[in-house]
């Protein structure tokens, strides 16, 4: 059952919110021991009381939102007042925020029910969810396989239908990549559309909270809830029309789609290439024009720029975890500097430390010009090159990931191999553009494949229309059957 169907049944009185919550906890009890997607669950009794309150408001028509009473899981880097928010890090293992993120306010206003907090790569750094300090989340399609990351817990919770919706965060693909691996729909909206207030920062200039769902309609409905101008976030933008569910129209006639390719290197599994080709054919058959467009830079260049900038910002954003005011602090320290060193050495995992070191290096006085400043300039160049494409195209089509079905046991020979998996997703983050990943068939192991659509700035409506049309016109066998 989709989230919107569930919401409808609740409003119709076919289901009570209490029943929905009970069922959700049952499913979690049944599945999550294996999947390990939740880091914490709210006390069931407390949630049931909340369910009753919401039920009353629905009954009295105080709450009429289409998602009222619908359960949701939240990535554990989004601040929830009174609920531990750990970023899957030892550093924040017992951290309880004193305020709600703006998206949490929005979700509560819509009458949605927060069930728990989901696992992730520590501080959202990674593409596997294996960098969690606490547990490894498994792919619900096949538990031998990697769930993707960093919003792996949120992806698994939705893909396994423990909850119909979840929130993730996406800095370089952290919503779209696990969505592709798990066979669900995940979106990173235009930078600034969703408030970052209360999102624990990784790379501030690219971080965006976004919706994850089993289908495009639910995804649009959830974005409708969380997109809002927020005076508490200086990078928030004012948008008049956020009624994304109005754009769920099965029609791409006359639309101009660009099949995006990098200049030279386009690492891609054959099965994903097949999916892309099929999407292309489908779009053509539905009346859109699809032409290949090559952008004048390589995947490697885009990745380099992304990792220089993201690590630089991360190194600064994570300086606040020093053991002084909150979070983990090592004990028996003889001096302030020893306390800092030990706290950070023991509190952070290896991937986080790696990125802090990289970031500190590229920002150091002697390297700033060579790395950080250069990366900023190339980012500007990339943005201007991509923005030119909107003269000719409505939407760009590209893979979400270069590979599908990565076994959990597979050890990356080089860390950069893991970084390479992000080569199709980081582009939207660097350019601040909206991008959505939708499931499009399976690979030879039966694992889901995702394809990505990227739109112009704040053109989420167009993006949803194309995504919805592709979803509706997919051959039956292509729909990933979980």
């Amino acid at each position: 059952m989709t989230a919107l169907e569930l919401g409808k049944k609740i409003r119709n009185g076919e289901l009570t919110v209490r029943q929905v919550v009970e069922q959700t906890y049952e499913k979690i009890a049944m599945l999550d021991k294996e999947l390990q997607s939740f880091l914490s669950l709210r006390e069931k009794e407390e949630v049931l009381l909340e369910a009753d309150e919401i039920q009353e408001k629905i009954n009295s028509k105080q709450l009429i939102h289409s998602l009222a009473g619908v359960p949701i899981a939240i990535k554990d880097n989004i601040c929830t007042k009174g609920i531990t928010t750990t970023c899957a890090s030892k550093m924040l293992e017992h951290f309880i925020p004193m305020y709600d993120a703006t998206v949490i306010d929005n979700i509560k206003k819509a009458g949605m029910i927060i069930i728990g907090k989901t696992n992730m790569d520590e501080f959202a750094m990674g593409s596997t969810t294996k960098h969690s300090a606490f547990q490894i989340t498994k792919n619900p399609n096949n538990t031998e396989f990697c769930v993707g990351g960093s919003s792996g817990g949120s992806a698994a919770a939705v893909a396994s239908q423990m909850v119909p919706l979840s929130l993730g965060s996406d800095t370089g693909g952290s919503i779209r990549q696990p969505s592709a691996f798990c066979g669900i729909v995940g979106m990173k909206a235009s930078y600034g559309l969703v408030s970052r207030n209360g999102l624990i920062a990784y790379a501030s200039s690219m971080d965006q909270i976004g919706p994850m769902a089993t289908n495009v309609s639910d995804c649009a409905a959830l974005l409708e809830v969380i997109a809002s101008y927020d005076s508490h976030d200086s990078t928030s933008v004012k948008v008049t029309d956020t009624q994304y569910t109005k754009s769920l129209i099965n029609d791409v006639k006359g639309m101009k789609i660009g099949l995006l390719q990098y200049k030279q290197d386009n690492p891609l599994d054959e099965s994903i290439q097949c999916a892309i080709n099929q999407a292309k054919e489908n779009l053509k058959n539905l009346g859109a024009t699809v032409t290949t467009v090559t952008i004048p830079f390589t995947a490697k260049q885009v990745l380099s720029v992304y990792y220089v900038l993201a690590c630089a910002e991360a190194s600064s954003n994570l300086e606040r975890y020093d053991g002084v005011v909150y979070g983990f602090r090592s004990d028996k320290d003889s001096s302030l500097s020893e306390m800092y060193k030990k706290t950070r050495t023991q509190g952070f995992g290896s991937e986080v430390k790696r990125r802090i070191m990289l970031g500190s290096f590229v920002l150091s006085a002697s390297q700033y010009e060579h790395y950080y400043k250069k990366a900023l300039r190339i980012r500007e160049y990339i943005c201007s090159e991509v923005s030119r494409l909107w003269n000719d195209y409505d939407v760009l089509l590209l893979p979400t990931t270069s590979v599908s079905g990565v076994p959990i046991k597979e050890k990356m020979v080089h860390t950069t191999k893991e970084y390479e998996m992000d080569c199709y997703t980081v582009l939207a983050n660097l350019t601040k553009l909206p991008a959505i990943s939708i499931p499009y068939g399976n690979d030879e192991n039966g694992l889901p494949i995702g394809i990505q659509l990227m739109g112009n700035y704040l053109q989420e409506h167009t993006l949803f229309q194309v995504a919805y049309t592709l979803e509706k016109n997919m051959e039956k066998e292509k729909r990933s059957g979980i």
């Binding site: 920062a201 200086s234 300086e319 002084v324 920002l363 900023l376």
Partner: protein, 498 residues
């Protein structure tokens, strides 16, 4: 016993005249906005620890800054007052460092595109006016305050000050003496106080000064190696530190050593400084553009609006007071020392157009009362209107000066209406001539000896009689009138005796 150092210093003393001191300043000023620079917390000084805090100014995970527009306006106003160039697109940068008073691990400051570049401030130098060039002015946030308890093993942090807006003004190395530094700081302080953007109190830390100082042989064009002096909490401290550091550097050079590029800390009780960190230990702050804050676009319209609100500064008032009101330069300086005093003067003469009389009253009566009560002229409690009506009563001879002083003391701290006060206390002068003559005749009758003395030519005796009359009227008679009437009555008395 004379130590080696003393010999050097004595030697340096002789050599002092051969050297020139070169000084540049870094001045931090806390802006008097109601709320902090990146959150809505109050900036009130001196409250209980950690009451004015929120997730933003304590660096909680997930919190993001929002710029207080007032801070930008204040910074622009100061920039304009220093004849600087306002940067049309200004940006914030992060300065990364670890210290417990810095909850985010970085300070939001400005490095690459500071809000103001260039500019100058004219000071009265030893040989006439001199322009001290401004290098830049930037905005940043203040840190929290560490409280060390000697008895305990812990230190405490008070974040009330964390996020209080600061501007930092960096000068070029254009000052050549402690005198010029004082003159610069006084002029700067006055401008900023007139703008109303800060109270600039060194003791309370709302103005903090770091002194960059080097010495060189007179005539040299190359700058010597400079040191940076921190922890200067008073004007006197700054003067002493400059003298001490100049002497120290000359002594080093004269003994064949070199001046190290370093940051030093002034110890005011010991009257000397010590090294805090050398250039080698200099921190790499890994500055980079603050991604949480978009660039601030400053339009010409905005600048014009702020420019229009610019007040007449002290230097301009000093010139105008002399030409418009004929008040001496010295007096004009006194009257304009604080903008509150100047405003009081200007408003009083709107109601009572006798500038010199008003000026005198403010400089003599007001300043001495302020001094007596340990107050400064930034907090004048009486209103100019009341002062004007007091002075009008003197002018119209409703009361005399002696009574006026008494009345002023009463209204000084309360802003009572002087007219009502005089009426309530029955202090107005005795206008009735018949009544005064009655008293005069009575006094003459009671003081025969003085009358005889007067007849004998001792003119002083008349003064005594006048005094007796004033005493009898409890000071409420017009002394000039009394003088006249005593004379008339005496003459009449003498005639009648003959």
């Amino acid at each position: 016993m004379i130590g080696e150092n003393n010999i050097d210093c004595n030697n340096a003393n002789c050599k002092m005249l051969e050297y020139e001191t070169v000084i540049g300043l870094e001045v931090h000023i806390e802006l008097a906005t109601n709320t902090k620079i990146f959150c809505g917390c109050s900036t009130t000084f001196g409250e209980e620890e950690n009451v004015n805090i929120c997730p933003v100014c304590t660096g909680m995970p997930g919190s993001v800054p929002v710029l207080n527009k007032k801070v930008v306006e204040y910074a622009i106003a100061v920039g304009l007052a220093l004849h600087g160039n306002i940067t049309p697109i200004t940006r914030f940068d992060r300065k990364n460092y670890f210290y417990p008073d810095n909850p985010q691990g970085y300070q939001i400051s400005q490095l690459y595109f500071p809000i103001v570049t260039g500019g100058f401030l004219t000071i009265q130098g030893e040989d006439g006016n001199k322009n001290i060039r401004i290098h830049e002015l930037h905005m940043e946030e203040d840190a929290g305050k560490l409280i060390h308890d000697e008895k305990e093993k812990f230190s405490y942090i008070d974040f009330n000050r964390s996020g209080v807006p600061l501007i930092e003004i960096v000068t070029e190395p254009d000052m050549r003496s402690a005198g010029e530094v004082m003159e610069f700081l006084e002029t700067l302080k006055s401008r900023i106080q007139y703008l109303g953007v800060s109270d600039c109190k060194l003791q309370e830390g709302s103005m903090r000064v770091d002194v960059n100082l080097s010495v060189r042989k007179k005539g040299d064009t190359k700058l010597g190696t400079r040191t940076e002096m921190k922890n200067l909490n008073s004007f006197r401290g700054i003067q002493r530190a400059i003298a001490d550091e100049t002497k120290r550097q000359i002594a080093l050079l004269e003994s064949g050593k070199v001046v190290e590029r370093e940051t030093r800390r002034w110890d005011d009780t010991k009257g000397t400084s010590y090294s805090m960190r050398s250039k080698e230990d200099a921190m790499d702050y890994r500055y980079f553009p603050e991604p949480d804050l978009p660039p601030v676009i400053i339009s010409n319209d905005w600048i014009e609006k702020i420019k229009k609100k610019e007040p007449e500064f002290r230097e301009e008032k000093i010139i105008r007071y002399q030409s418009q009101y004929g008040i001496s330069e010295y007096d004009s300086r006194l009257l304009t020392e604080t903008k509150e005093m100047a405003a009081c003067f200007e408003e009083t003469i709107v109601h009572f157009n006798q500038p010199k009389e008003v000026a005198n009253w403010l400089m003599v009566e007001t300043l001495s009362l302020l001094k007596e009560k340990g107050l400064d002229s930034t907090k004048l409690l009486f209103s100019p209107k009341q002062l004007a009506s007091l002075l009008t009563m003197i002018y119209n001879k409703v009361i005399n000066r002696t009574v006026a002083k008494e009345v002023f003391e009463a209204i000084f701290g309360t802003d009572l209406c002087p007219v009502e006060y005089v009426a309530a206390h029955n202090l107005s002068m005795i206008q009735d001539e018949e009544r005064i003559i009655q008293i005069v005749e009575q006094v003459i009758g009671e003081n025969e000896q003085s009358v005889q003395d007067y007849i004998a030519g001792k003119k002083r005796a008349m003064g005594f009689l006048v005094g007796q009359v004033m005493k009898a009227t409890k000071g409420k008679a017009d002394p000039q009138k009394v003088n006249e009437l005593v004379q008339v009555c005496l003459e009449r008395f003498i005639k009648s005796e003959v």
